[in-house]
Amino acid sequence: MTSNIAKPATPPKAVTKKVRRATKATNNRGAVMFFIAPFSILFALFYIVPILVAIYQSLLTVEREGTFGKPTEVFGGFVQYARVFQDEAFWSSILRVLSFGVVQVPVMLGLALLLALLLDSPLVKGKRFFRLAFFAPYAVPGVIAAVMWGFLYSPNLSPFTAITKEINFLGADLVLWSIANVVTWVFVGYNMIIIYSALLAIPSEIYEAARLDGASQARIAWSIKIPLITPAITLTAIFSIIGTLQLLAEPQVFKSFTSAVTSTFTPNLLIYSTASVPNVNLAAAFSVVLALFTFALSFTVLKFTQRKAD
């Protein structure tokens, strides 16, 4: 079994041959166009065109005639990119979200996997309730979750003032991990459901032999279940990595609670503040670099897990 999450299974050749000929007939061209046109046109307009415009904008630079002259955009080649690579705030924000991700993604997915395996084992009663309880935070939008936790962390208003008076969760040292906790709280249940759905799809006959040999639940989980659900774990890992690099809403909200979150705290906050200056060309260059970085990272994870599975 390969973990290729990007290739839908094709039905056996023998079956398709006859139908293929039928579907290739030109009288279906109109139908195919009807099916693919709406999505394709919108995808071109709102995915491809923006990316091209961002690349174009990132290659321009603003020139002024004198200090107070009229600004004009002229072609500047890679001037903006040179600025991106010299911009220390940008790279330290990338490093910040990477260190965040290295800790937060494994913790979150580890917890999601543990809970999914427990729900799938005969050890737990009341599965329905637990499934809903763990999934409930996913119904809370990131912005709202950050607002809530801002109260929970506060030294005066928190239900846990005994702790929050002693430990400053909103201080410069801890605020990144306080945000990590908010993201974890929201997404554990969602990832758990994806992994749990994959577990449910495994036919239980597979465990028969192991059970008869007297294998424990932990052993069955480790040796049989986890290898079979690797594709689901890969999928959740990729989405989590993308989410980490794009971190925006939670730190943006935390700015109202603490001065420890600066306007260059994460790459997206930096892009937002650069664009509001407004320095659109530099912000576009940041966006392009961040998108390429995100793409490269998720692609690497995908390839890496595929190679391991093959």
């Binding site: 139908a31 961002a54 904008q57 809970l115 005969p122 912005v143 607002v147 208003l157 994806i194």
Partner: protein, 292 residues
Amino acid sequence: MSATKTAAKKHHGPRESLFSRSGAMLVMAICTFYFLVPIWWLFVAATKDRSDFTTSAPLWFADFNLFENIGNLATYRDGLFFRWMLNSILYAGAGAAVATLFATMMGYALAKYDFRGRETLFNVVLGGVLVPATALALPLFLVFSQVGATNTFWSVFLPSIVSPFGVYLARIYATSSVPDELVEAARIDGSGEVRTFFTVATRLMTPAMVTIFLFQFVTIWNNFFLPLIMLRDEKLFPVTLGLYIWNSQVNQIPEIRAYVIIGALLSIIPLIIAFLSLQRFWRSGLGTGALK
């Protein structure tokens, strides 16, 4: 779906030791506490008046003022908050419905028809899955400002009806759940391709469609960066952006804090309703994306 399977699993093999069962239940209890206490706190906080909020026990009720609080929120600034709620329901509900239709049509065509450039098209869409919505927010702003359409309903709505992940799910699902023989039989019966899709295929693809709908609904409901960049007019705000702005004004306008808390509670309810009412569909649909 799996009720029979779990029942079958329960009565198999050796009895698990009391030790591992209580260990498992302990983990479950701790996690329940962790996931539910913040929501419980929010609910309790939303029932208190201003003085009780700071003086009474945070995790238990004082005087129950939930409905007065909601009433105050409804009159505050001519019910601006409820306008935001309606905006969010419109952005997310209509947006997810259109996104689901287009993604399903596209996924179905990619699964069931052989046409030139099919694989290329699919790979481009897959590339789109790896491009996160936040990364597109600023580029979209640049596009909309070229045509002078920023700060409009459409500037938030239109980009949200494109769901590459939905196409990916729909293609996988159509491949595995819409048999070629059935499409062929409909053809022989003289049903047109489009009619076959709307009468036969959509019925078979319902779980996938509900999953795509919910996934996109949540994505749009939670979307924050795009409206933040696009919108100036607070009458167009979705609820997330509105509450964010209010929350950042708490230091200047202290009484706004109560509205933020009630608003936060009310903003969660539509998603909970959507999840609960569509539960049996999406749980069977979610597995498809993760099972290749």
